[in-house]
């Protein structure tokens, strides 16, 4: 089918965009378009009004501020990868680098990947592990919430139809953390995750002080596994036996927390087993990075 739209809006500010949405709450928000246009073309969503966010300056830009890193919702994967982040947000950058191919990365946005609501969304587990917050604008003003509260289920978020995701923020407290993103896929070129995981570790003097572990594509939403994090906390990363045991416990916790589905890509049994593998690999990679 050809792509059909009813009306096209190009607001210049968040307020303008909110005004359009207040009148047309079911309008589609267009950021990179890599999901939206496909969904329209394949009839997964109804054609409707489109609000193009490209002209909204506040939604763009990636800034390092005293209180952390702010990533505008329409920052593309390539912009993210080109940003001078040094060692910071490694899991997020690894996720962005695995998302789609070069062309997709040039268009796809961080906010779009989150708001599509895919359980397999690359940036989702990374941002969970980074302890990110999201800024949301709506008719009743602005609010901020942990990224975990954004996901509601496959293709669903907790945002109201007239709300817009403005930015993602990662606190300065995360600055010294090491992190990694890993996914299990079926080929080495463009693919989406069978399952994925991100691990972020605050390693101080060789000991994991604090940890976050997130898993993707193993439940209706990407999710944090606090038990996995707890298993890692207090472990001396130089003690291979202790690290192996802790990583194994984290993997087991993640497997237990998973309730994967069987679909054309993989069976539930394989997915569940791979959750353990991918969590171990993400943790190991984060430890390596933190050394």
């Amino acid at each position: 089918m050809t792509t059909q739209t009813r009306e096209y809006f190009a607001p210049g500010s968040v307020d303008d965009a909110l005004r359009v949405l207040s009148e047309r709450p079911h309008a589609h928000l267009l950021a990179g378009g890599t999901d939206l246009l496909n969904d329209l073309r394949h009839g997964l969503i109804e054609p409707g009004d489109v609000v193009d966010l490209a002209g909204v300056a506040e939604l763009g830009g990636l800034d390092e501020a005293p209180d952390g890193v702010r990533i505008g919702a329409t920052v593309t994967m390539r912009e993210l990868l080109a940003a001078p982040l040094g060692d910071r947000l490694r899991a997020l950058r690894e996720a962005a680098d695995l998302l789609g191919g070069r062309q997709i990365q040039a268009a796809a946005t961080v906010g779009g990947n989150l708001c599509q609501g895919s359980p397999a969304a690359e940036v989702a587990t990374a941002l969970l592990a980074h302890g990110a917050l999201v800024d949301v604008a709506g008719p009743r003003g602005r609010r901020t919430m942990p990224v975990a509260e954004l996901f509601a289920g496959p293709r669903r978020t907790t945002l109201a139809p007239e709300e817009i995701l403005v930015a993602i923020r990662v606190g300065v407290a995360d600055a010294g953390w090491s992190s990694a993103y890993r996914r299990i896929d079926l080929r080495r070129s463009v693919d989406i995750a069978i399952v994925s995981a991100s691990a972020a570790l605050d390693i101080d003097a060789g000991v994991v002080r604090s940890a976050r572990v997130a898993v993707g594509a193993a439940r209706p939403v990407p999710f944090l596994v606090p038990e996995a994090a707890a298993a890692l906390e207090g472990v001396a990363v130089g003690d291979e036996a202790a690290l192996a045991a802790a990583t194994g416990r984290a993997a087991e916790a993640a497997r237990s927390a998973s309730s994967p589905i069987t679909d054309v890509r993989a069976g539930a049994e394989y997915r569940r087993a791979m959750v353990g593998v991918v969590v171990e690999r993400a943790v190991r990679a984060a430890v390596e990075e933190g050394r």
């Binding site: 299990i184 079926l186 080929r187 693919d191 993989a266 394989y270 593998v277």
Partner: protein
């Protein structure tokens, strides 16, 4: 090497043949200027949409097109009522332009709409009401073979579309004498051709002639099919072949061009049908899945004594090329290895699924997937080196194989030697594969070898004739046009034909314009299939070049009034060796020829009759002009935690005779390896209840750059084929044939697990590694 061959190699080195020049049409392709079917526009062209069956099997009670016809912008709606009541097909008359009494698979074409644009056509198509009385459907070939199940065609009550049997020698005695008998079942998967260019056609009914613009790789045969289906004489159907964006065997569409033809006649304007990728991936005609049971009888020294094979292939609901594919799967391996005696049976079975068709490798690649693994198993059990095992049993140059196929050239022993050296096979290969689950941990590497062969044309394709013909038109303006009937499907035949003609005429390849195919002026031809185009059209081109030279010399003789022996031809220049006349360059000669003959171009023709014979009633006889060979080695790394398999090294040594163009040849081999890698590890059209569940490139995965090993090594051994142009023979299919087996043998070497079903996906491998599932084909129980 003989002296003759050395002489020819020298000549080749001086000419254009043997040089890796870029494809002559590559710049236009890279710039996006090549006009494929999707780029063509005819004045007033309408767009069509097909109404497809949504049930797998049912009786059509009625079709109501009235609502569709009332949609503004609709120009015509066609149903079976608009088509002659004939059934047609390349092997079995089970094709209709549009389904008439029954629908037999989900996607079966029932009606079609032509409208002023595509959305209108699609909308109107959605309003066509098809009243179907649903019947029980069957999707499993063994269920279809069982008695009392659904019958798809009344004429074939057992659901067997084709039965192929063959017997050679005393197989029973061979098995009685055997020291070892291996008996195993292997199954291959349904594969999508995944060409760049989806199916498309423009039909234009003008002055009582159906002009069909179809990117067909078998235009002459397609024209026969289409004229028969339309109930018209051959000259009332004209086929024009635009550039083809990949085929791999798929671009001989049985009914889409005919649907467009019906609509064009009815609407009075040209009509285009152009599949999007989603429609193409959901309703294409895939590679038929096969189940093979093979028994091989061996003597303790590793000599093969006999072979029994039983093959079941899926036709889908109508019969395409699959009968020939089944025949190939049953008996072609006998010209790679000398099995000494064989008995074979192949059954092609109807199911309520999209018809399957030819794909690169054509049953042979499928058969070798099992046989090449069984040879490794035999070697292991007899404690013989797998390379030595193969060397001992291959059919050699100068031999006539079991079914009468004469191997006029084979450098396969050299291929085996070179690929072993290139890959360091003996050192790289794991001495003993892991034997227990405890040994299967971490990342395991393994190396495997497999051989492959194929044909260079196949006599039975077209009953009328084998071979090829070519026309050279040398204009008074100096232009050179070459007409052959074998289309380039993207592999570079236009370039090698230009190289061959250029050498004959003493010009550069860029000066030879190889014309697109149009049945109005191109020679009729068997087509580009069975790896035949370079060999057959190449020979015809060389013959046409020689004819042009003869005619030019005769013309100069006449013009100069000297004895013919006094006229010399060298590098495109005619010289009077008596010195009485100024020499003619080719351009001057052609100008002069035109002046003398009132504008007539010099027309030269070439006909090539290959030394092939139609196999007899027992399927005995040399069916192909020449046989190409290859030896491949793959190295894999298996991640035991995830089951993921990476091909980390790949080496290929080929005997394709003289290599006409090393660059395009290397491209063919790399493409074959990539396609085989995809088939081995990831490609699979997943069907349930007759529906394709992965009709897109996200879930039908083909390998990307990241999946190919870095630094694939390809080598062509020094070889010469007496029956091919300048010593060349085929390459297209043999490039794929060993790949899947080489990878599977490497996986066994890495893990000690023999994978007998395709694809060897991470999940499947993980199950073998972790759940202790029997590593036996899931079809083993059904065929035994």
């Amino acid at each position: 090497m003989t002296t003759t061959q050395d002489t020819i190699h020298e000549t080749a080195a001086q000419g254009w043949v043997g040089r890796g020049i870029p494809q002559v049409d590559i710049e236009a392709k890279l710039r996006g200027q090549t006009e494929y079917i999707g780029d063509l526009r005819l004045p007033n062209m309408a767009h069509a949409a097909i109404v497809r069956s949504t049930v797998a099997h049912g009786r059509i009670r009625g079709i109501d097109t009235s609502r569709a016809e009332r949609v503004p912008g609709v120009l015509a709606v066609a149903t079976a009522a608009d088509a002659p009541e004939v059934k047609f097909g390349p092997y079995t008359p089970d094709w209709e332009i549009l389904a008439r009494h029954k629908v037999r698979f989900i996607g079966d074409e029932v009606a079609a709409v032509a409208a002023i644009d595509e959305p209108t056509a699609r909308y109107a198509a959605s309003l066509v009401e098809v009243d179907v009385e649903e019947l029980p459907a069957v999707f499993d070939p063994f269920a279809a073979l069982a008695e009392g199940g659904p019958v798809i065609w009344d004429e074939y009550a057992d659901n067997v579309s084709t039965l192929f049997t063959i017997e050679r020698g005393d197989t029973r005695a061979a098995f009685d004498a055997a020291d070892l008998v291996v008996d195993d079942v292997y199954a291959t998967s349904r594969m999508y051709h995944a060409y760049l260019e989806p199916i498309g056609v423009i039909a234009h009914y003008v002055d009582g002639v159906h002009v069909l613009h179809v990117p067909s790789h078998i235009p002459y045969r397609a024209r026969q099919t289409y004229s028969a289906a339309l109930g018209l004489p051959l000259d009332k159907v004209r086929l024009v072949v635009p550039p083809i964006g990949g085929s791999f065997g798929a671009k001989y569409e049985m009914n889409t061009p005919l649907i467009a033809a019906l609509l064009s006649r009815k609407a009075g304007v040209p009509v285009r049908i152009l599949f999007g990728r989603d429609e193409d991936a959901a309703y294409h005609r895939p590679r038929p899945p096969f189940v093979f049971r093979n028994r091989i009888a061996v003597r303790a020294d590793g000599t093969f004594l006999g072979r029994e094979t039983d093959v079941v292939g899926i036709a889908g609901a109508r019969t395409y090329w699959s009968p020939a594919t089944v025949a190939t799967a049953v008996h072609r391996p006998d010209s790679l290895y000398n099995f000494n005696a064989m008995t074979g049976r192949g059954r092609l079975v109807y199911t309520n699924e999209s018809p399957t068709t030819a794909m690169r490798g054509f049953g042979n690649a499928e058969a070798l997937f099992g046989i090449e693994q069984m040879i490794d198993e035999i070697a292991e059990r007899l404690d013989i080196d797998p390379v030595e095992m193969r060397r001992r049993n291959i059919v050699q140059e100068g031999e006539t194989s079991l079914h009468g196929w004469y191997i006029s050239s084979s450098q396969l022993p050299a291929c085996i030697e070179r690929v072993s050296e290139m890959s360091g096979f003996a050192d790289r290969r794991r001495a003993r594969p892991p034997a227990t689950a405890g040994e299967r941990v971490g990342k395991l590497r393994g190396t495997g070898i497999a051989l492959g062969h194929h044909v260079s044309g196949y006599r039975p394709i077209l009953p009328d004739y084998d071979g090829s013909s070519a026309i050279l038109r040398l204009g008074p303006d100096g232009s050179i046009q070459l007409y052959v009937g074998e289309p380039d499907v993207g592999q570079g035949h236009v370039t090698v034909m230009a190289q061959l003609a250029a050498d004959e005429l003493g010009v550069a390849p860029a000066e030879v314009k190889v014309q697109g195919i149009d049945s109005a002026f191109s020679p009729a031809a068997v087509g580009t299939l069975a790896s035949r185009a370079a060999t057959m059209a190449g020979m015809a081109t060389v013959a046409a070049g020689a004819d042009a030279r003869r005619k030019l010399i005769a013309f100069a003789t006449e013009q100069w009034g000297v004895p013919e022996a006094a006229v010399s031809w060298q590098a495109g220049t005619l010289t009077d060796t008596t010195g009485a006349n100024e020499p003619f360059t080719l351009r001057q000669a052609l100008h002069r020829y035109g002046v003398v003959n009132c504008g007539l171009p010099l027309l030269a023709t070439g006909v090539h009759h290959p030394k092939t014979v139609m196999p007899d009633a027992t399927k005995y006889g040399n069916a192909s002009a020449a046989y190409p060979f290859a030896a491949h080695v793959a190295e894999v790394e298996v991640d035991c935690d995830t089951g993921q398999i990476s091909v980390v090294g790949y080496w290929a040594a080929h005997d394709s005779g003289t290599v006409l163009n090393p660059q395009t040849a290397r491209g063919q081999v790399l493409g074959g390896i990539a396609q085989g890698l995809g088939w081995a590890l990831m490609e699979d059209v997943i069907m349930s209840e007759g529906v394709v569940r992965n009709p897109n490139f996200l879930d039908y995965r083909i390998p990307g750059a990241g999946d190919m090993p870095a630094g694939v090594e390809v080598e062509f051994v020094d070889a010469y084929e007496p029956n091919g142009p300048r010593g060349a023979k085929s390459l297209g299919e043999v490039a794929l044939n060993p790949v899947v087996a080489a990878i599977a043998n490497a996986i066994y070497n890495a893990t000690g697990l023999r994978c007998k079903d395709l694809p060897i996906s991470p999940e499947r491998m993980w199950r073998y590694l972790h759940l202790g599932e029997p590593v036996e084909s899931s079809s083993a129980g059904a065929i035994r």
